[in-house]
Each structure stands twice: as structure tokens, then as C-alpha cells.
């Protein structure tokens, strides 16, 4: 390790102390070439992944799924059923891997925890006044502590987009730091809600801000606004985690969420991960899909590969 990287690291860790330093740094990040990013993402979507490679990709994608239900109508029974599905996505095939995590609202965490206890499936809970994040800080932190106390080992927080877009980066930074502290040992995923950030430059800035503040994962979206995860946005975020590891040595995960519905989409993302940040991230610890309907499509494609016949939605659970 050279002297320059060590000093660069300590400089980065000092950034959060002042609004000016943070702004200077974030606005000093190179701008994103919008056309280039969109073209690159589109190009990576054209790779053909077949047969054994496809089978591997499907199993990896299943292991990366954060099986999510975030509805006002969620009930204990529904989330228990979802957790059971997370453990055994395809009851007809014991070789099918379990998913990465179950993601629910804090009030539903205890019911999921009962089912997942003793398994390797993680339990994620959204917190900090999801999805808007428009609540006083104490309430957001209490929300987080309650979720952790109920058994969540991953917290999906939302950033304060109002503050971010108004340029109050220090406020956003401090909230993430405080939430990280409130999460304790739980992994912190920071939702940028890229659909509300308007530009790729903002996505890059928000990614760096979240990583500097200590986020373990950066996540695209809540799934509650019309524009959710897109390939170019995820590309910008992947580049950010790559550059961040180069600068600091710390690896941060990425979770695109919302709008990824088909196996084909999921495989495109996996190709993009491999080509942008490399195989280090091709692991459920470092890359996740926030999705609900994706899992059934993955299972149908998996069934097609193992049995040779196309399956149908009648043969898989709805949630």
C-alpha cells in the first residue's frame, strides 16, 4: 500500500465533517456520459447466454433474489407463505437453491423471522419511513431499531431525496451515518431512489455519498415510483462501487430493485456485473435483485432447462 492511497483514504473519511468538503468532492466527480452509458448498457444486453451457462446464471440469480412484498395489504399469513417460498422456491425440485433474502415492512419482520430461523436466508426490512423518507430523524432511527430488534439482519433505508436534491449533502450523509449506527450489526442497504434523482450525475454522487457514509449496499429504487431500476442507472452504480473499492479498499454491494421481471432481464444484469466490476460481485453477498415476480419466471425457465418442457404460471405460487 502506497502513501498516496493511505492519505487518499483518510481524506475521504474526513469528507463527512464539512458540507463544503463534501460538496466539493461530489461535484468534482467526473460527469457521466449519458449517451455512452445508455449505449454500453444496451450493448451488454445483447449477449447470448445459453445451455449450461444459462443454468448457472439462473441458479445464481435465484440465490440473489431479495423476495419482496411491500404492500399495505401484507398480512402475517402472506409473509409467512413468502418466507416459506424463499426457503424452497421450487418444492418439486430439491436441487433448486434458496433465495438471498426476504424483504418486508418492519411490522412483518417477526412473522418472517419465525419461519427463517436457523436458515441461511437473510431477513431484510425496509426502514426510515420507507418509501418517502419524509419523517423526522428520530422516527426513522426508531423505525430502524425496531426492525433490527424484531430480527432483521439487513436494513433497506431510503435517503432523504428532498435534502439531496436541495444540495444539503451533509444532512443526507449524517442520516445515513446515524442509521448505520442504529442498525448495529445488520447490513445497511441505502436506497437512492434513482427515479427521483433526475440525472446520472446525481446517481453517481448519491452512490458515492452513500458509500462514504458507510452503506454496505447501494440500491436503486423503492419500487414505489414509476421509474425503477434501469440498466444504465445500475451501470453507473456498478462503476461507482468499482471506483470506490479502488480508492478505499472497501467493497460495497449493489441491488437493482423494481421492474426486473424476466429471466432475460436478470441475465442481462449479471452480464453487466461481470463486465463492469468482475466476478468478485457475482455473489449474493455483493449483488441482489429486489423483485417479486422475477422469481417465478426464473423458476419456470429453470424447469424448462431441467425437464425440457415449458412450464406455466399455474404451477408456481402467486406470491
Amino acid at each position: 500500500m502506497t502513501a498516496t492511497t493511505t492519505s487518499a483514504r483518510s481524506e475521504l473519511s474526513e469528507l463527512g465533517r464539512s458540507e463544503t468538503a463534501l460538496r466539493t468532492f461530489l461535484h468534482g466527480l467526473p460527469g457521466v456520459d449519458q449517451v455512452g452509458a445508455e449505449q454500453r448498457a444496451a450493448q451488454l444486453g445483447t449477449r447470448s447466454i445459453k445451455t449450461t451457462a444459462k443454468a448457472q446464471a439462473i441458479d445464481l440469480a435465484i440465490r440473489m433474489v431479495d423476495l419482496t412484498t411491500l404492500e399495505g395489504a401484507d398480512t402475517p399469513g402472506k409473509v409467512r407463505a413468502l418466507a416459506a417460498k424463499a426457503l424452497r422456491p421450487d418444492p418439486a425440485d430439491p436441487s433448486c437453491p434458496h433465495v438471498g433474502a426476504v424483504c418486508v415492512y418492519p411490522a412483518m419482520v417477526p412473522y418472517v423471522a419465525e419461519v427463517l430461523r436457523g436458515s441461511a436466508v437473510h431477513l431484510a426490512s425496509v426502514a426510515t419511513a420507507f418509501p418517502s423518507g419524509q419523517a423526522p430523524l428520530e422516527i426513522k432511527l426508531a423505525d430502524t431499531r425496531a426492525a433490527v430488534a424484531a430480527g432483521a439482519d439487513e436494513i433497506d433505508m431510503v435517503i432523504n431525496r428532498g435534502a439531496f436534491l436541495a444540495g444539503r449533502y451533509k444532512e443526507v450523509y449524517d442520516e445515513i451515518v446515524a442509521t448505520k449506527e442504529a442498525s448495529g450489526d445488520a447490513h445497511l442497504k441505502v436506497i437512492l431512489e434513482t427515479g427521483e434523482l433526475a440525472t446520472y450525475d446525481n446517481v453517481r454522487r448519491a452512490s458515492w455519498l452513500a458509500m462514504l457514509a458507510g452503506g454496505d449496499f447501494i440500491k436503486t429504487s423503492t419500487g414505489k415510483v414509476p421509474i425503477a431500476a434501469t440498466m444504465p442507472v445500475s451501470l453507473v452504480m456498478l462503476e461507482a462501487v468499482r471506483d470506490f473499492r479502488e480508492a478505499t479498499g472497501r467493497q460495497v454491494g449493489v441491488k437493482p430493485a423494481g421492474g426486473i421481471k424476466t429471466t432475460k432481464d436478470a441475465i442481462k444484469y449479471l452480464v453487466m456485473v461481470n463486465e463492469t466490476v468482475g466476478p468478485d460481485w457475482l455473489d449474493p453477498d455483493w449483488f441482489r435483485f429486489g423483485a417479486s415476480s422475477l422469481l417465478n419466471d426464473l423458476l419456470m425457465q429453470r424447469t424448462k432447462l431441467t425437464t425440457g418442457t415449458y412450464s406455466g404460471p399455474d404451477y408456481f405460487t402467486l406470491d
Binding site: 425440457g308 418442457t309 415449458y310 412450464s311 406455466g312 404460471p313 399455474d314 404451477y315
Partner: protein, 274 residues
């Protein structure tokens, strides 16, 4: 002035209301026109489109379905010359239009003829109503190219089923032209999907597909293939219509069997006398 260059047509598939080329990029020559050679994946895509269309089509009122089918007959009549130019005899086109109208008329009559109140020994209203089976795969007869095709599509969709049709391999031009008729008839996309190409390639995929509810083997001429398809169809208990005899006369009154074979009966018990 330079001589005008003719615009030649490529005959494409009909899936979900659109005319895509085969996903495989393949085509074959028929009457010196290029026709798409459908692959297993095209069959899969067609089933997805057909499944997506079931809710809207089966949920439409019978009267509305009848109107739309009648509209299709109007369009078919208007394209008479185009079919004749493809080598279909004028009489056959007329018969096809008549057959389509005849089936269209059945849309709002099926439930009355095949449903009704059942007398039961108890204080209940007991009512049976026919409902569509769902997604039906159809292997269309090789010929007559148009009348045969109309005679297998119309009875399936009139009750609210959606179909994936493997068209005649040797005379597919009429099938694609019929697709153009349907595409301009207010028929929702995905209700009729037409695949051109080798039956041996598409039919086994359709027969084995777990999201297909019934298969009509009318156009299968190879007995071994028919047996294979029936075995595959048994996996999820598809309704099966067996191949038509080679000397089947398509011009005679078709009867109701083709419609009723693709219906499910729902019976409701309702207490009365309160």
C-alpha cells in the same frame, strides 16, 4: 423515368397482434415468397401472448365477441381477391366467409344451448354455464388452406378461448393473409396467433407446454407424430381433439362438436326458498 421496383412481401408470423419474423431468423420458400420458419421459441412466445389475451377475450361479453367475429368476416369478404390471387378457389373463400359468420352467430347462443338450469332434488337453484377452456393449440389441416384454417380457428375462439395455430406447412400464405384480416378486425392481439413452418418443430413444443389447456390435432397426418403429441399432451391432461380422417370433407355442415369440445362446464348451486 426509371421503372418501378415491386415491393415484395415477406410472410411473417402473427404473435400477440404483431407480425414478427421468426426469432431464429429462418425462412423458407413457398410460391416464390419468403415465409418465416417458426422455432420452438416462437411457439413459446405465442403461448405467452395467447395466455395474456385469455382474460380480456374470455371476459368480453358473448355479444361483443360475436360482433368482432362478424367484423372479421366482413374484412375477409373484402379481401376475397387477395385470397384468389394466392390460388384459393373463389368458392372456397366464399365458404370460409360463410363458415366464419355461422360460428360468429353462435357466440351469444352457446350458453343458452349448452348451459341452463338443472333440476335437482333439494331447495337449490342449480345452474350450469359453459366456459372457455383457455389456451388452445391447433394444428391446422394442410388443405383446404383457407376453409380448413377458418374451420378450426373460429369454433375455438368463439367461446372465448385463445389459440396458437400451427398453419399448413405447404400452403401458409393463406394463413398469414388471414392473420392480416384478423389484425384489422378489432380482434384483441394474442387471441389468434399463427405460426408458419414445420409442424414437427412447433407441435411437440405446444403439446408438451404446461400452459396450454387443449390441443387440436386435426391437421396431423403422420400417425406416429399424432401418438407422440397425445402422449405429451397427457402430461397436464390437455383436452385433445384427434386428427381428422384424410378424406374429411370440409365443405359440409361442421356441426357443433368443435365448439363444445373446447368448453368447460361450471355448475353453481344456490340455496332458494328463503
Amino acid at each position: 423515368m426509371s421503372e418501378r421496383v415491386a415491393v415484395r412481401k415477406t410472410y411473417k408470423l402473427f404473435i400477440g397482434g404483431k407480425f414478427p419474423r421468426s426469432e431464429s431468423g429462418r425462412s423458407y420458400l413457398v410460391q416464390s415468397s419468403n415465409v418465416s420458419l417458426a422455432s420452438r421459441k416462437d411457439a413459446r412466445d405465442a403461448v405467452v401472448a395467447a395466455r395474456a389475451a385469455v382474460k380480456g377475450w374470455a371476459g368480453a361479453t358473448a355479444y361483443n365477441r360475436g360482433q368482432i367475429l362478424y367484423r372479421a368476416a366482413e374484412m375477409l369478404e373484402g379481401r376475397r381477391e387477395q385470397f384468389v390471387a394466392l390460388g384459393i378457389p373463389g368458392d372456397e373463400v366464399d365458404a370460409a366467409v360463410d363458415r366464419w359468420v355461422w360460428y360468429a352467430g353462435w357466440a351469444d347462443k352457446l350458453a343458452q344451448v349448452y348451459g341452463g338450469a338443472n333440476p335437482v332434488a333439494g331447495p337449490y337453484f342449480n345452474i350450469s354455464a359453459p366456459e372457455p377452456t383457455g389456451v388452445v393449440a391447433v394444428v391446422a389441416p394442410e388443405r383446404p388452406a383457407l376453409l380448413g384454417l377458418v374451420s378450426v380457428i373460429a369454433p375455438a375462439i368463439v367461446s372465448g378461448n385463445t389459440v396458437v395455430v400451427a398453419a399448413s406447412a405447404t400452403e401458409p400464405l393463406a394463413a398469414v393473409t388471414l392473420a392480416e384480416v384478423l389484425a384489422t378486425s378489432d380482434l384483441p392481439g394474442g387471441v389468434v396467433n399463427i405460426l408458419t413452418g414445420a409442424i414437427t418443430e412447433t407441435a411437440p413444443t405446444l403439446a408438451a407446454h404446461m400452459d396450454v389447456n387443449a390441443i387440436d390435432l386435426t391437421g396431423v397426418t403422420d400417425a406416429a407424430l399424432a401418438t407422440d403429441l397425445e402422449v405429451k399432451a397427457a402430461e397436464n391432461l390437455k383436452r385433445v381433439l384427434r386428427p381428422a380422417p384424410a378424406d374429411h370433407d370440409w365443405s359440409v355442415d361442421p356441426g357443433l362438436d368443435r365448439m363444445t369440445a373446447l368448453l368447460e362446464t361450471k355448475t353453481v348451486w344456490h340455496p332458494k326458498g328463503v
